[in-house]
């Protein structure tokens, strides 16, 4: 898959950790789909209601250091179980970032001003975001406005997304 698109949700907090994304008490699940109902269950964010706010969402936009803490790949799995395959942030924690690409999902890094612009647009209108891996462009539709933002993926990150994940890539190459 090289185009990811859908409705975007903005989470206005830095340092959202993987315990908040998927609490440890659910790590006894070995079936990824069982994680779905518990996404962001413990997230500390004023006004956030996971049941309501995550419904129909395909893209997350958030602040610095997203996915810090535990290495649990259950975090991207819980996102995917809810149909979310793209996260956009100014920075990510290392293990979470790598886990996203290893799963063939997309973690897009944008600078602070561009992230602020997305938050401002979202405050006024529902946000729809489409990310194209081949052209390295995200297209944002917010009410009557449409604008495009470039992003950069390394050759490796692109290759992982195009292969569908690290197991597929490694199997072909090593």
């Amino acid at each position: 898959m090289t185009t990811f698109s859908g409705n975007a949700l903005c989470l206005d907090r830095a340092d959202i950790n993987t315990d908040e994304i998927i609490p440890a008490r659910y790590l006894t699940e070995i079936d990824k789909s069982a994680l779905g109902p518990h996404l962001m269950e413990d997230l500390e964010l004023e006004g956030f209601d996971p049941q309501k706010d995550l419904a129909g969402i395909d893209v997350l936009v958030t602040r610095e250091n997203f996915g810090c803490g535990s290495s649990r790949e259950h975090a991207p799995w819980a996102l995917e179980a809810n149909g979310i395959r793209v996260v956009i942030a100014p920075s990510f924690a290392r293990i979470f970032y790598q886990n996203m690409f290893n799963c063939g999902m997309l973690a897009i890094t944008l600078d602070r001003t561009q992230i602020d612009r997305l938050f401002e647009s979202a405050a006024k209108n529902f946000l729809h975001i489409s990310a194209d891996v081949d052209t390295e462009t995200i297209t944002v539709t917010a009410g009557p406005d449409t604008f495009a933002l470039p992003f950069t993926l390394s050759g490796f990150e692109k290759a992982l997304v195009q292969a569908g994940g690290w197991v597929e890539y490694a199997d072909q190459n090593y």
């Binding site: 315990d19 790590l27 990824k32 293990i95």
Partner: protein, 430 residues
Amino acid sequence: MGKTIAEKIFDDHRVDQPFAGVNVLRLDRVFCHEITTPTAIQDLVARGKDRVFDPGKIKAVIDHVTPAKDSKTALQGKILRDWARRHGIIDFFDIGRNGVCHALFPEKGFVRPGFVIIMGDSHTCTHGAFGAFAAGVGTTDLEVGILKGVCAFKQPDTLKIEITGALQPGVFAKDVILEVIRRITVNGATNQVIEFCGPVVDAMSMEARMTLSNMAVEAGATSGICRPDAVTVAYLWPFIKDEYTDHKAALADFSRYLPDEDAVYAGHEIMDVTDLVPLTTFGYKPDHVKPVSDMAGTPVDQVYIGSCTNGRIQDLRVAAQVVAGKKIADSVRAIVSPATPDVFSQAMEEGLIKIFMDAGFCVTNPTCGACLGMSNGVLASGEVAAATTNRNFNGRMGKGGMVHLMSPATAAATALSGTIANASLFSDPA
């Protein structure tokens, strides 16, 4: 141009560089536990690739929830156990021989300077204490590691953290690493390796170095590496004595991973710990750190001494020294979880278990348990814990609970008081 420890290890292990800055490294160790490995095993089976690259290099343990608390955790253990058996993974530590992975594996001599080690666990950085490049990864990286014996890493920069001066009585490695995290913040070393060095680190035991390296990930670091030296050799000697003529020969070999004089670092922090006081966390981030004295009097409901950060014998000795002959406060419950069976045995032999029990502690089997709120002392909503663990995230030890991280000495003193308190080791060392 000179190289850092990580650069030397990468050079030694690089099998491919498929893209600029991406290094596929051959693995010396793939460590496995029952929470993050079963999904990898099942995926390999589903793909018709139920193989392992080298059973001798794979070490596995059931540690996070043990003994099994329900049928789900029992199944996780069973998947790991069945897999270890069918692939001849001899070093699989089942119930009775099992302990917290990052305490057990070093204890068994599985870590060497210069090794590349991965595990599906963020505190894998602990093994950097031996001068290894040891990094936490997710289940998919673990799966490829198991199958192919390789893992891909971006070339990391290294942040040199030089620790100078000398620790006062009652101030320990846990306080040092809390101060490091406070200074550089939770995002301070993302995509970097931290090299810990300086006279204070040189003077530390391997256990204290493991406490330092263990929490490198809380500052975002890929690994926390200490220079291999005579202390490293002495710790590993029982396991390497047939490979080298003497300690000097081992040290000479390990020294090829020492950083060059002209190695290039992304940053160099010098931290004088002469005036460092015992520290604890407040709030929900490991970089929210204050002196214990500033938090003194904060009531706690539970004290937890254990974990891969501070559950080893030296940690238990200090805690026992604080509580010996005394009783914990009526308002608090205290749990001590020796990190491995050998730590438990040693503690028994030294009379520490009796000291803890006489003081009113609950002494449990080795397990990760409460550290991540899965078992062995989960908090109720609204409760407060003082713990020697490594994360105080919201809900970490139980939904709605609060955790204050601290050293074993401070945790023991807090158990006696029922409120956050400095140990007399610090406040009255005479």
